[in-house]
């Protein structure tokens, strides 16, 4: 199914079929295997496949686009004609020319992760068995993904890549306690489901019988998953050149200025060995590594070809498929690490909160990146440098800009983390002073 030759044939057919001034073809093939389980038994086991061929054409200063999920020669030819017809009805506009051939791809093209339901079920059994042995119940997923993408255009650009991901995510429940751990990597062999189960079980057992604490300002130690769910908002709302150019980013007018504690450095770097993702963007441009914040100072932004032309620089390879409303966005946030374990961040805290994960984080206000969300799956009180007891979950409402200014420690435990509703970051644990909790819940 993951067939780059078929993708290339379809792209060639589309380019030949189109008589437009410029034509771009993007072919994707996606396959996912997933075992979803709860209360120690599987509830959804699946393998799903999808494909898409998107054709973008420009004729006489007008642009049209159409796509099909049927990757056949006939469907692709029809799709090209639909794109040309759409262009005929569009208003004339000024466009940045499509890119020509690119030389500096650092392609990875790993072997696909072939779905293996027996292997996946066995891995699930090991996780649920560990939970059962500890007197806990489990819910989670285990699976693999293969994502083949090809982009070619009439200016001679042509590139394809395969992104593979193996993933396990486990939530564990014991009495009123909850714990969670996950693993995400490019290959199945690197996924240690036994270690994931141990982490989640330990967390659940430690968080039994939580008590409430009063909302207010605390020093917090955020584990990587919690850090990731905050930083993703900076990625979506701050580091893209379009948002800075239109003034909606918290970095508007601040590039070159101090915007975070000097210990904070953030890059976008798809080549970090821990991360996953394609090495070219939605226009086929190779992704560059971009320093976004360097020792607390705002440095660079991510660009597509349109924002780069406006600013007089080269695209950094962060375009979404064109055209789009959002403009260029970071795809692989990497935050610099400190040294030591999470415990090293805790030992200097007189009274604070250790947070495993945030839930349903959302943005209240964009200029200060004020965010709100709930703690989840293991929240603990820190007293005199040690974790003393589990606490009930609380809601935070906190400016991320101010939180980055108040970073007082970084762990050496950087890992690939994801957050509710997607996105990937490589981040360490983080200690932040004066983090504001505004209400609490009943569990």
């Amino acid at each position: 199914m993951l067939d780059p030759d078929r993708a290339q044939r379809l792209a060639q057919i589309a380019l030949e079929e189109s008589g437009a001034d410029e034509t771009e073809v993007c072919v994707t093939q996606y396959e996912e295997e997933l075992n979803r389980f709860t209360a120690d038994h599987p509830v959804q086991n699946l393998v799903r496949r999808m494909a898409n061929v998107a054709v973008r054409v420009r004729s006489n200063g007008r642009e049209g686009k159409a796509s099909t999920g049927t990757p056949t020669e006939a469907a692709v030819r029809t799709t090209v004609r639909r794109a040309i017809e759409a262009a005929r009805h569009m208003p004339a506009g000024e466009f940045v020319p499509m890119a020509g051939p690119q030389e500096d791809y650092r392609l990875r093209r790993p072997d696909p992760l072939t779905p293996d339901p027996d292997h996946t079920a066995d891995a699930v059994a090991r996780m649920t068995g560990a939970c059962r042995d500890a007197g806990c119940t489990a819910a989670g997923i285990q699976g693999v993904e293969n994502d083949l993408r090809l982009i070619a255009n009439s200016n001679g650009l042509s590139v394809w890549d395969l992104d593979t991901r193996a993933r396990a995510s486990l939530s564990v429940f014991a009495d009123e306690g909850a714990g969670w751990a996950d693993g995400l990597c490019a290959g199945r062999d690197a996924l240690d489901v036994d270690a994931i189960a141990r982490r989640a079980v330990d967390k659940a057992l430690a968080s039994r019988a939580p008590h409430g604490v009063d909302p207010g300002e605390y020093t917090v130690v955020l584990e990587p998953a919690a850090v990731a769910s905050l930083l993703l908002f900076a990625a979506y709302k701050g580091f893209g050149a379009q948002q800075v150019q239109d003034g909606s980013s918290f970095l508007a007018g601040k590039v070159g200025e101090r915007v975070a504690h000097e210990s904070v450095s953030i890059d976008d770097d798809v080549y970090n060995p821990l991360t996953v993702g394609h090495v070219f963007d939605g226009e086929g441009m190779p992704r560059s590594s971009v320093a976004l914040i360097e020792h607390g100072v705002a440095r660079g932004l991510v660009h597509d070809r349109r924002t780069a032309q406006k600013q007089g620089c080269r695209s950094t390879g962060h375009a979404l498929p064109q055209p789009n409303v959002s403009g260029p966005l970071p795809a692989n946030i990497v935050m610099s690490s400190g040294a030591g374990e999470t415990g090293d961040l805790i030992k200097d805290v007189d009274r604070g909160i250790l947070i495993t994960e945030f839930h349903y984080t959302n943005m209240v206000e964009p200029t200060k990146l004020t965010l709100t969300g709930m703690t989840r799956n293991g929240t603990f009180l820190i007293e005199n440098g040690v974790v003393t007891r589990p606490v009930k979950n609380m809601r935070f409402t906190q400016s991320l800009v101010e939180a980055l200014e108040r970073v007082s420690g970084l762990g050496g435990d950087a890992r690939l983390a994801s957050a509710l509703f997607g996105g990937y970051t490589v981040v360490p644990s983080l200690r932040v002073d004066g983090f504001r909790f505004t209400s609490r819940t009943d569990f």
């Binding site: 799903r48 898409n52 049927t70 429940f173 239109d246 055209p323 839930h359 206000e365 504001r436």
Partner: protein, 493 residues
């Protein structure tokens, strides 16, 4: 766009679908169903006077679901050919059998007659027959009005149309053809000045309103005619006072209340969540099955009705993706919890022999899961003017801006686009970032006045995310402006 599925195409789907069922049953499936179909989408967005999005996509495919000794297997494909259908059906059985290595299959399947029917949603004007020029012209005119003042730094005017054709076949003999057309449109603008950014949208945030109707929805919204007010309110909000911190009465607009219903009632009463099936992703629910015994969800005037038959609802279908005929039932009746939203595989947890018909999948390539139905707060008898006049000290809040709720659907916090202080029954100063926070049962118990049917309308949620892998589903929530007494407002951030 290509035409909706033709009789020839449907006949091919039926032939291939029956082959899939035969393969699955010969492989050992106790139950099998197959969905074959096509989804067509057109999305257009104008940003700052430029076409920033144009999607004209069509996706065909199929998905085969089986049960083997209570174990679940699902596989999907996009090559709608005999060989591929056979391969995918065999794979679904293999997946189900392999799944038993991880634990016993425990799925139970509620009964339902094997319906044989053709069902089509109703619309006046086929949106796919309306020219791109006409759509773009309307959006460009609205965008132009929004951009006539320099404080506006970003605009977004969009339309979205979706047409789905599907054939459902089951090993019990069900044969259901369905066609659904959905439409949506809206405008939004961002006003910006030093250190302050505000947004205002019409008729609702995040793309506008969406319904299972045709292009007539767009005409009814009068996007151009409402652009000036939308623009000016965004600019006025730049200099508005912040929402005060304290406790006061709030009146929520229909569009904001729709999201409140969605988050604090809709997801909380999905029985798969209650059973922990969603525990590793979107969460569980405080509404455990012990609360079926008349749990007090809200005040006596709170009646929340799920209705997959309501005209124009985004979740309105003839049958769900389990082949269950659509229904209407109370989730909350006179303030007391009455029933869950269920699929055929969780209905028994409610001691119900029949599913409520809430099983839906995003396209043929995803597995059906429990989704919120059209879920509405039934109207009361107040006029909006009388409701404001009856409020001594309060805030009117409108327009969804930010939402967040805990994983058991108890603690929520919402921020709206637009707030207006109410003092002694009169509107007062404008308030920016109006925020309220509460706990679900206490919040609904504080509901004391609901506006009349004349103020009630359906608000569409086109992008509800749930499941692993995550799927997007659509549903509507009917709501009228409603008052809640003594709520915590504002936030010290």
């Amino acid at each position: 766009m290509s035409a909706v599925a033709t009789p020839t195409e449907t006949a091919l789907w039926r032939e291939l679908g029956l082959r899939a069922l035969d393969v699955a049953q010969r492989g050992g499936a106790d139950w099998a169903d197959v969905r074959l179909g096509r989804v067509e989408v057109e999305e257009i967005a104008i940003r700052n006077g430029r076409v920033a999005r144009l999607e004209q996509s069509e996706q065909a495919g199929f998905g085969v679901r089986v049960l083997v000794d209570g174990a679940h297997g699902f596989a999907s494909g996009f090559d709608v050919t005999p060989d591929e259908v056979e391969r995918v059906a065999n794979l679904a059985v293999r997946i189900a059998k392999a799944g038993r290595r991880a634990g016993p299959g425990r799925l139970q399947w509620a009964g339902e007659p094997a319906h044989r029917d053709v069902w089509t949603s109703t619309y006046l004007v086929d949106p796919f027959a309306v020219s791109l020029e006409k759509k773009l012209d309307l959006l460009m005119r609205a965008d132009k009005v929004l951009r006539t003042k320099p404080e506006i730094t970003a605009t977004s005017c969009s339309m979205s149309f979706r047409r789905e054709s599907q054939l459902f076949l089951s090993s019990e003999g069900a044969d259901i053809e369905q066609r659904v057309v959905r439409s949506g449109a809206g405008i939004s603008c961002v006003a910006h000045t030093d250190g302050e950014t505000q947004v205002r949208s019409y008729p609702a945030a995040f793309g506008g309103n969406f319904m299972s109707v045709g292009y007539e929805l767009v005409g009814s919204l009068d996007l151009v005619g409402n652009a000036e007010r939308c623009r000016d309110e965004a600019i006025e909000l730049l200099s508005a006072d912040p929402c005060p911190v304290g406790e006061t009465d709030i009146i929520l607009s229909g569009d904001q209340l729709a999201l409140q219903i969605h988050e604090s009632v809709g997801h909380a009463t999905e029985l798969d969540r209650v059973q922990g099936w969603e525990a590793n992703f979107a969460g569980t629910s405080f509404m455990d099955t012990g609360k079926l015994d008349g749990f007090r969800y809200g005040s006596d005037i709170v009646n929340l009705v799920a209705d997959a038959t309501v005209p124009g609802g985004l979740a309105t279908v003839g049958y769900d993706d389990d082949g269950v005929r659509s229904q209407r039932w109370h989730i909350v009746q006179d303030g007391k919890f009455a029933a869950y939203q269920t699929s055929r595989d969780v209905a028994h947890f409610e001691n119900n022999e029949r599913s409520r018909g809430c099983s839906r999948a995003e396209g043929m390539w995803n597995v059906p899961i429990v989704r919120i139905s059209n879920l509405s707060l039934m109207p009361g008898s107040w006029t909006f003017d009388d409701l404001v006049a009856d409020t001594e000290d309060g805030i009117y809040m409108a327009g969804v801006k930010c939402w967040s709720i805990d994983q058991q659907r108890l603690n929520f916090q919402f921020t709206c686009e637009y707030g207006r202080e109410i003092k002694n029954g009169q509107f007062g100063r404008l308030l920016k970032n109006p925020t309220y926070q509460g706990l679900t049962p206490q919040f609904w118990s504080a509901c004391d006045a609901i506006c009349a049917p004349e103020e009630w309308r359906l608000w569409g949620v086109p992008n509800c995310g749930k499941g692993q892998p995550m799927q997007t589903a659509e549903m509507s929530h009917g709501a009228a402006p409603t008052r809640f007494r003594k709520q915590a407002v504002g936030v010290r951030a």
